[in-house]
């Protein structure tokens, strides 16, 4: 085990960095995607409702691994087919898109449920004072919804971090992919996968502890 760490230590930490980078990028995009489609599903505009529901159903209905193949291999092939023969997607780009879309769909549902959990009277009180819909959402409903959403959001963050391992299938050099390489080179499967497992675990446990702390702070004074 020591010998693996000596030989491949830098590689492992570089891979961990890639995993975290992709997670962070995906989470940022997923928050934006989730906000957009989540809010579309909250209002009563039929067109928006349709778009929001369609997005969530479509993305949740496809396994992440299929989505990753589709975006990494399928989409560039399609675009090349219509004449842009130089079009390529980097693995990081394709992986981040797939992961953001996937996480975004779940975020949309978390955000929708969170907003719907806020009593209708809060919006009505705001509107009755003359405040526009968007202002009521932003200043009255969403701040109250966020409190109920935090545990689900943290949970989704952790799932997304672990889902980066799925993107090893399109060749992204994240932790799991590097694990495969090391296990193949050294024939020390047990040690390698134990190290990889512990690395994921340390990061996730740290993250969830930090998140718990944030959650407690936000709920203070409630």
């Amino acid at each position: 085990m020591i010998s693996i760490l000596e030989t491949y230590g830098t590689m492992l930490f570089a891979a961990l960095g890639k995993t975290l980078l992709m997670t962070l990028l995906s989470l940022i995009f997923a928050m934006v995607i989730g906000m957009i489609f989540g809010l579309m599903n909250v209002g009563h505009n039929r067109v928006f409702n349709f778009i929001g529901t369609f997005y969530v159903d479509a993305v949740r209905g496809v396994p992440l691994i299929v989505l990753a193949y589709f975006i990494y291999f399928g989409v560039p092939a399609g675009i090349q087919g219509i004449g842009f023969s130089n079009f390529r997607l980097e693995v990081l780009q394709a992986g981040t898109i797939a992961l953001s879309m996937n996480c975004g769909a779940y975020m949309a549902e978390i955000i929708r449920a969170g907003i719907e959990s806020v009593d209708r009277g809060q919006m009505e009180a705001g509107r009755s004072l003359g405040l526009p819909y968007g202002t009521c959402m932003a200043l009255i409903v969403v701040p109250q919804a966020v409190r109920t959403m935090i545990p689900s959001i943290i949970n989704q963050f952790i799932i997304t971090l672990k889902d980066t391992s799925i993107l090893s299938v399109i060749g992204f050099p994240e932790l799991t992919n590097v694990g495969k390489t090391i296990a193949g080179n050294t024939f020390k499967s047990l040690e390698t996968w134990a190290i990889i497992g512990v690395m994921y675990m340390v990061v996730i446990v740290t993250l969830s502890r930090a998140a718990k702390w944030v959650e407690r702070r936000v709920n203070r004074g409630r």
């Binding site: 009505e124 009180a125 109250q144």
Partner: protein
């Protein structure tokens, strides 16, 4: 029908609320069938009636929390049933008090009261705070400005809710069963604030089951049932000497 006798009485410019042939359906359910109603400046109108009679829906149509299916509602000369009317602007002038208070739970009392005036630029932050302090004194809660709603009793919450509505300096106040969710010992403190408002000349439309309040404060009492105005008149006439059998029947149950 008894309701007709008031129709032509107030077409002058002191008319604050003018409702003609209002209908409201929820799907296939007709909640308001044909409502016409005028309220003049400074008048206190109390809506009575059994649950499901459409009183709350009528009230909520006035500031368009419910959109009318047909008919016209003119508030201070603005047709709120017209889609081109800036409803937010009209609402600034109509305060509303809800059965369940609907205070913003994540904000302090002070923040509850200054949010709309500051955001809508009705007042500067400093002015809004001053107004809030004065209003809180008026409802007897000057020491609660930094409290959160969860730290208040029901009666206190409702008084803050009234003060919050008044912070926009409205001409009209709508009350939707303001004492129905309160413990009995807290009803009085809320009614006292409402009485004072009425005395100061506020135009008020109140949905309530407090017959005593109606008798003491109302200029006019309207009895509704099944989506119609069945009978209206002064508290004397309607509460002590009702004419319509359905009014008599209702009052015999609640008095």
């Amino acid at each position: 029908m008894a309701g007709k006798q008031y129709q032509n009485q107030m077409t002058d410019n002191t008319c604050k609320i003018h409702v003609t042939n209002l209908k409201k359906n929820f799907g296939s359910l007709e909640v308001l069938k044909d409502i016409s109603l005028d309220v003049t400046e400074g008048e206190v109108v109390v809506l009575l009636g059994p649950s499901g009679s459409g009183k709350s829906t009528l009230l909520r149509c006035l500031n368009q929390l419910e959109t009318a299916t047909s008919g016209r509602i003119i508030i201070d000369g603005h047709d709120v049933t017209d889609r081109h009317t800036d409803i937010n602007k009209v609402r600034e002038n109509i305060g509303m008090v809800f059965q369940h208070f609907n205070l913003f739970n994540h904000l302090t009392v002070m923040e509850n009261m200054t949010l709309a005036p500051v955001h809508l630029k009705v007042a500067s932050k400093e002015q809004a705070r001053q107004t809030a302090v004065q209003l809180l004194q008026r409802v007897g809660l000057e020491d609660k400005s930094e409290a959160y709603p969860s730290q208040l009793s029901g009666g206190q919450k409702q008084r803050v809710a009234i003060a919050r509505a008044l912070a926009m300096k409205p001409d009209i106040m709508l009350f939707d069963e303001p004492t129905s969710a309160l413990d009995p010992e807290m009803v009085g403190e809320v009614l006292a604030v409402m009485k004072e408002l009425a005395r100061d000349g506020m135009t008020m439309v109140v949905v309530t089951h407090e017959i005593g309040f109606a008798r003491e404060v109302a200029d006019r009492v309207i009895f509704m049932e099944g989506g119609y105005i069945v009978e209206e008149g002064s508290p004397e006439e309607l509460i002590l000497h009702p004419k319509e059998p359905r009014t008599i029947d209702f009052l015999s149950k609640v008095l």
